[in-house]
Subunit: 219 residues, 2 copies
């Protein structure tokens, strides 16, 4: 597995999850920026469509020993793949029930919050329905984080599931960043905030931060 | 693992996915109906909130040998758990890259389509925004299925990934049923329709059909 490249956008939460995973696994990769907004979105251009016809970020690309070029998209399947090929350090607990719980928490973000407030949904809400896309996004973030806080509490140690980082934490941190951008009051989610601070103390999470990426736009 | 119970609603696509998985694995389970619409939704009542505070379907419940009662929600993590505890017959290919592709296809449905047209989103669109919730749902189904058709084509054999049923097929079949309910023209997705017909020939898929469930309402 050589020539690892990640097609990414600094603020894309799905890209951010995979960046965390790559850094946690200690894998070196080239960063290929795809601007989700400029010129109507570079993901719709011919160059990126040849890489990923679904026009979503991120895409992970690499070359196998036999020369085959491989590509994968969808953040959780990419992370599960990295886990299978590079098992240490693990992104999932060893116990099957706790593994399932970590995946469940990750899905509460991945399918329960993020799809309802991603860029294409917000654009359609605003342009087709004339709706307040930010209020919509804030609503689903708050509702989702309420469920996540309740689900994390009985499982949490230092991180979402016990004392080891897992997929749940990888999904949590980028979502809280998104929620702040939509103006969501995070005070009702003290467990999530505490875990976020633990994660931010780790070098892998620091290296994956949006403002540390080559395509970041200074505030 | 005894006393397997599935909290389900006949038309819930996420419940349906887990029903397929249980039947494919040959696992016997009790069916506990939770009506998503009646009386404002039984999932919001105290009885079900004690089972699943996130108020989503399905929830799988069982008792371990030591007497511990276990519960899991979120359809894909539940299916991954069943795969780890009951590996045969497999719901994922043996090859890591193909496993990832199957998970990717499953996520195109699970996070790419279903969340945008689930009941709570449709209710909010209609009640808060006065929008045409069915047109909204049809749009995201068509857009998602277009991406899925393109992604499946290079991978498909008899099923979505080669000639063996996997998580991708488990997610595909309930989504096509949903797309029909929203009036989506499925003619542009011939590969998906062909695979759906293959799936429907299998007893496990037949047993999981909505109209075969105890809480089904005759048309």
């Amino acid at each position: 597995m050589t020539g690892l490249r990640l097609y990414s956008y600094w603020r894309s939460s799905a890209s951010w999850r995979v960046r965390i995973g790559l850094h946690l696994k200690g894998l070196t990769f080239d960063y290929v920026p795809v601007h989700l907004v400029k010129d109507g979105g570079e993901q719709h251009g011919a160059a990126y469509r040849a890489v990923n016809p679904m026009r979503t970020l991120p895409t992970l690309e690499w070359t196998e020993a036999d020369g085959a070029v491989r590509r994968l998209s969808q953040s959780l399947p990419v992370l599960e793949y990295l886990e299978e090929r590079f098992p240490a350090p693990a992104l999932l607990p060893a116990d099957p029930y706790l593994r399932a719980k970590s995946r469940m928490l990750a899905e509460l973000v991945n399918s329960g919050i993020q799809p309802l407030q991603n860029l294409s949904v917000m654009q359609r809400l605003k342009q087709e329905l004339g709706a307040d896309d930010k209020a919509w996004s804030a609503y689903w973030n708050a509702r989702g984080l309420e469920g996540l806080e309740a689900a994390v509490r009985p499982l949490a140690g230092r991180f979402c599931v016990g004392d080891t980082v897992s997929l749940a934490d990888v999904c949590l941190v980028p979502q809280l960043y998104g929620a702040r951008r939509f103006g969501v009051d995070l005070a009702p989610y003290p467990t999530l905030l505490r875990i976020e601070a633990e994660c931010q103390s780790l070098p892998a999470f620091q290296a994956a931060q949006p403002d540390r990426q080559p395509d970041a736009v200074p505030a």
